[in-house]
Amino acid sequence: MDKRISAAAAVAQISDGMTVGIGGWGPRRKPMALVREILRSDLKDLTIVAYGGADVGMLCASGKVKKVIFAFVSLDFIPLEPYFRQARQNGDIEVMEVDEGMMLLGLRAAAWGLPFIPTEVGLGTDILTHNPDIKVIDSPYDDKEWVAMPALNLDVALIHADRADARGVCQIEGPDHYLDDWMARAAKNTIVSCEEVVETSYFQDPARARQVFWERSITDAVVEIPGGAHPTSCNPKYGFDVPHFKAYNASAKDGGFSAYAEQYLAATETEYQERVGGLDAIRALPLPVY
């Protein structure tokens, strides 16, 4: 089974109104090339589930988003994502704001086919005030009340990996795979962009096979896009692009997202990469120091 397709073909699998989970964390290993392909599409009314960064900001700024399910949206070194902020402050989007761990439980519930997982997280906070759909239940084993974190069932998950074979075996080589495995498992259709397509034999080394965090049956499409996480990081290959993020952030006050898009987005990813300095420049971006 050869799951390799183009970014455009992958995005063509997404429909208006779908719930789309996006892997990565803040400015780290986001499937930005796939996000850019959505920006170039006619898609609309998406519900986005993410440990959010510029992926969420760009999709909000370009009118693709009906609702964001989030615990944070941040660029880390720029704490507040400028376009997500605008969208919220303009009242443009619906939100389901949850705790980071609640999101993980919601993804796990979806992955495991459960309606919910109980948790004490959220009790006593406005997470519950503003999410009347999240139910609080009694336990059959104690006298406490518990939040029933509902499954976050995804229609599509978008993930960026380091390597994949044509059959969808995906490797994340960086120090952390974040919650990408749960995004992948929670989705009906998991689309993975990767730095490099490799032969299956690449994974024979157990150390490499250990960096494969879900079964290939979970992967539905493989899109080879070297540099596809830019401007976010793809540790160990490259760091996030600090000057680019600064320009992105500044654009929110000067010109707006249309100016940013006009300057960078372009009609194809190849052209995008040329505009940001080329693949070699992306690969040369230094890793962040925390």
Partner: protein, 266 residues
């Protein structure tokens, strides 16, 4: 253990932050921001070597990393993988003490990191989001660091958005006690406090050198408990300053409190 005579307010706060982790035993100490992180690191390097700390990325360390660029030769002291997904196993187990800086703190110790003003559908100022605060606050010990103590942080009334559970009886979940919540220390540029007053009221524990009770009260939007005798926050020792300097070789601590004032008011 010589008390230093020259030190910055940031360094005083780092030492006060370290004290917050003294009795934690073997907990994951998570200091978000330069001063909390240096506080946790100082505690681990001195009086509580049992603390655990991550590289803020994916590994637990047996020695805290210095802040900022560490040079090409630096090799961090990994002791276990600790990616974000595993952090939640730790959070939910309760074996953690996080210190961070919320935008609003109300008289119940509830905090806000999410949104200010307007309506929830259209806030006036959108901030980070609830992040992990709901989980942190109900699962484990937390402390707060506030670099600018004023009544926009310590607000009159309840937080615009309650990101973390505090000691608010009206929000107490069924089957739980207010004393299950564990807000340990509140450290500001003026003083050290805790929620050890009657009915978990905020209480003054020590004043930084040269700060008066009145200044704290004026800058706090709600009543706090002031004991008859309020000690002065302990000055760093020379040994502590040396360790702090080694942990922060690029002097990031100088940029954490406005104008980087000295520890003893002029």
């Amino acid at each position: 253990m010589t008390a230093a005579t020259e030190y910055s307010l940031a360094e005083l706060c780092i030492v006060a932050a370290a004290e917050a982790f003294r009795d934690d035993g073997e907990k994951l100490a998570t200091g978000i921001g330069v001063i909390p992180r240096l506080g946790a690191s100082l505690a681990m390097k001195t009086f509580n070597p049992d603390l655990m700390m991550t590289d803020s990325e994916a590994f637990m360390l047996s020695e805290p990393n210095p802040l900022g660029d560490r040079g090409a030769d630096f090799a961090q002291a990994n002791e276990s993988w600790m990616g974000f997904s595993r952090i939640f196993d730790n959070v939910w187990s309760g074996k953690r003490h996080a210190m961070l800086g919320p935008t609003q703190i109300d008289r119940f110790g509830q905090t806000n990191t999410s949104a200010l003003g307007g309506t929830y559908q259209q806030p006036k100022v959108m901030m980070l989001g609830a992040r992990g605060f709901p989980g942190n606050s109900i699962c484990h010990r937390n402390s707060f660091f506030v670099p600018a103590h004023n009544d926009r942080v310590f607000i009159d009334g309840e937080c615009d958005f309650v990101s973390s559970i505090g000691y608010n009886p009206a929000r107490l979940p069924k089957g739980r006690a207010l004393s299950d919540v564990d807000i340990h220390r509140v450290i500001t540029n003026l003083c050290v406090m805790d929620f050890g007053g009657p009915d978990h009221q905020l209480r003054l524990l020590s004043l930084h050198p040269g700060v008066g009770v009145e200044e704290v009260l004026e800058n706090t939007g709600f009543a706090i408990v002031v004991p008859d005798e309020v000690p002065t926050t302990a000055a760093p020792t020379e040994e502590q300053l040396a360790i702090i300097a080694a942990l922060d070789p690029h002097n990031q601590r100088a940029y954490q409190i406005k104008d980087n004032p000295p520890g003893v008011r002029g």
